[in-house]
């Protein structure tokens, strides 16, 4: 455990190409995950992200078996999952169970595909819990390309998407195409999820896609600030997790999820303390601006 704080070793490892490649991949993922996160949280899609990630795993397992790049397999699996969830889970009441149904079948199928695979077993484990150090130049190129596409599309649809998310009735009344924004966003989330599978693995994608945004939502109500904070939190978790994992050679996933979780806890504490101060101020009476509001 004392290796954890062996800064000299960490510094030396940070000069290695494959480590830099991993950090680059993590930085790209942190940006995409942070940018999408607040909308995922507002649209209550955490479970959908998890389900999509499991199908990215299935796709990655198939790709491993067929000898195609794992990234492509994960991408295909996640996008198919996003479309499936969009098609089958249209009704809010049904969505939850539809995700459960698809997720479990996808996982089972993935396990079978892995059983057929006769290569190195670390590859199998890697797509479940991540294998960032295995990122290669061409993976990084795909990652950056996909991330750019996601960010551009998000920038174009951001305002109507936010409108449709927080205020669907009025958005519809204003002519926002609420119906097809949902599946489009699901596909964006699917692509981002597939990227995440490479880094933290299918089981832990939620730590980067959801936790940072959930933490941000605790400390701000501004959609813009929440997005900025979510990106900062996701970057901290992704990059920090890799750096911390270097010296002990322990799994990246643990450090990424641990940092992510710690940030979330801190944000909850901040929100709790603020809430207490707020209610104390309300009790003390007339200074509250809300009390001064009188209908004109």
């Amino acid at each position: 455990m004392d290796k954890l704080f062996d800064f000299e070793l960490t510094a030396r490892l940070l000069q290695l190409d494959f480590v830099l490649m991993a950090l680059g991949a993590a930085a790209v993922l942190g940006l995409v995950a942070g940018a999408l996160g607040p909308l995922i949280v507002m649209r209550r899609m955490s479970f959908a992200v998890h389900g999509t990630a499991e199908l990215a795993f299935t796709g990655a397992a198939a790709a491993l078996l067929l000898g195609i790049g794992v990234s492509y397999g994960a991408l295909a699996g996640a996008v198919i999952a996003a479309l499936l969830l969009g098609l089958l889970g249209g009704r809010e009441s049904e969505r939850d169970s539809v995700i459960g149904v698809i997720l479990s079948f996808g996982l089972g199928l993935g396990v079978l595909l892995l059983w057929f695979y006769e290569g190195r077993s670390s590859n199998k484990f890697g797509i479940l819990v991540g294998q960032i150090v295995a990122i290669e130049q061409q993976d990084l190129e795909l990652l950056v390309g996909a991330a750019v596409v996601v960010l551009i599309v998000l920038a174009v649809i951001y305002r109507p998407l936010l409108f449709a998310t927080v205020d669907p009735a009025v958005a519809l009344a204003r002519g926002v195409p609420v119906r097809w924004l949902s599946p489009l966003f699901a596909v964006l989330v699917g692509i981002a999820t597939a990227l995440g599978v490479q880094i933290v693995g299918a089981l832990l994608v939620v730590a980067l896609m959801v936790t940072p945004a959930a933490a941000a939502a605790r400390v701000t109500a501004s959609p813009w600030l929440a997005t900025v904070l979510a990106v900062v939190f996701a970057e901290t978790a992704a990059l920090g997790g890799i750096v911390l994992s270097l010296a002990p050679g322990a799994p990246v996933s643990f450090f990424v999820t641990a940092i992510s979780f710690t940030i979330y806890l801190v944000c909850r504490v901040i929100a709790y303390v603020r809430g207490r101060q707020g209610s104390l101020r309300d009790l003390s009476g007339s200074d509250s601006p809300r009390a001064a509001v009188r209908p004109s």
């Binding site: 507002m42 009735a169 009025v170 009344a173 204003r174």
Partner: protein, 286 residues
């Protein structure tokens, strides 16, 4: 004399805010209404009354282009419904919003300004901020515009809703029970905000409500829908015991007390309707 602006004003005078001709709406064998002719002039305040399930909300959907007519024609602000929605403001019924929703009051208002536009909108941020601040101020919501919307009271939310609908400077304001579940003070405030807009800029108002009294002083005409039949006229013409008894086809008594109008017996005249608490139940086309 004939500058562009007067031409535009002439055009605005020539086209009503809403023009409905020979309109009918039916779902399967159930006709909500038919033979409906209604022209709403700019600056006119029309209240739409009627029991649950009489097609009040569906009428709004028609005007927003979300529901096609079974027969007849409709034009909103001079164009086909749904085509010019940026010239239409919409104030929905107050609904509880998620307490944790990452959205402040001013963000809700801002969405009314440019929430339907594509792109980042990073240019013109300063002008946008000023416009939103003005709209928030005009409904007296400045003190809570930075609070999360989910933590505001129903009355505060509805004021922001009015600002959200008015910030786009609409020619027509469609209100779907905006006063429901508000206390009397907030009912009056929200009504006055809408009325002020109509007076100052000539925005036409179509106000769906099941309670006419909060808006009675401002109402020019009433559209009263009951079980497939309807009446259009001034409140004095429509809100009488004789006309409503005929409309309901059952004894209904209209009582005027202290400048208010109370309709007695309308519920029992339509006992089949008392089970329908939600207007959308059967009107949903999906």
């Amino acid at each position: 004399m004939s500058t562009t602006s007067t031409d535009e004003m002439d055009a605005a005078v020539a086209t009503g805010a809403v023009e409905i001709g020979g309109a009918a709406l039916a779902f399967g064998d159930r006709t909500l209404w038919s033979g409906l002719d209604l022209r709403i002039e700019p600056g006119e305040f029309v209240a739409v009354l009627g029991p649950n399930g009489s097609g009040k909300t569906t009428l709004l959907k028609v005007l927003l282009g979300q529901q096609p007519l079974s027969a007849g024609a409709v034009r909103v602000a001079g164009t086909a419904p749904g085509k010019g929605n940026h010239r239409v403001g919409y104030v929905p019924q107050q609904r509880a919003m998620d307490q944790q929703l990452t959205l402040r009051g001013r963000d809700l208002v801002g969405l009314g300004l440019d929430g339907d536009r594509w792109g980042t909108g990073l240019r013109g941020m300063r002008a946008r901020r000023r416009k939103v601040a003005e709209a928030v101020d005009s409904v007296g919501a400045t003190s809570y515009a930075s609070s999360p919307v989910g933590q505001l009271s129903g009355g505060e939310q509805q004021r922001l809703r009015v600002a959200q609908a008015l910030i786009g400077e609409p020619d027509l304001l469609l209100c779907d029970e905006p006063l429901a579940s508000l206390d009397l003070t907030h009912q009056r405030t929200v009504t006055e905000l809408i009325e002020r807009r109509r007076r100052e800029t000539g925005t036409a108002v179509l106000f769906v409500t099941h309670e006419i009294n909060p808006v009675l002083p401002h109402v020019d005409r009433v559209l009263y829908l009951v079980g497939g039949r309807f009446l259009i006229g001034t409140p004095a013409e429509v809100m009488t015991s004789e006309t409503l008894t005929e409309l309901y086809g059952a004894p209904v008594e209209v009582v005027r007390v202290g400048g208010q109008i109370h309709v007695a017996g309308a519920q029992s005249a339509l006992c089949e309707d008392t089970v329908h608490h939600h207007e959308h139940d059967h009107a949903e086309p999906v």
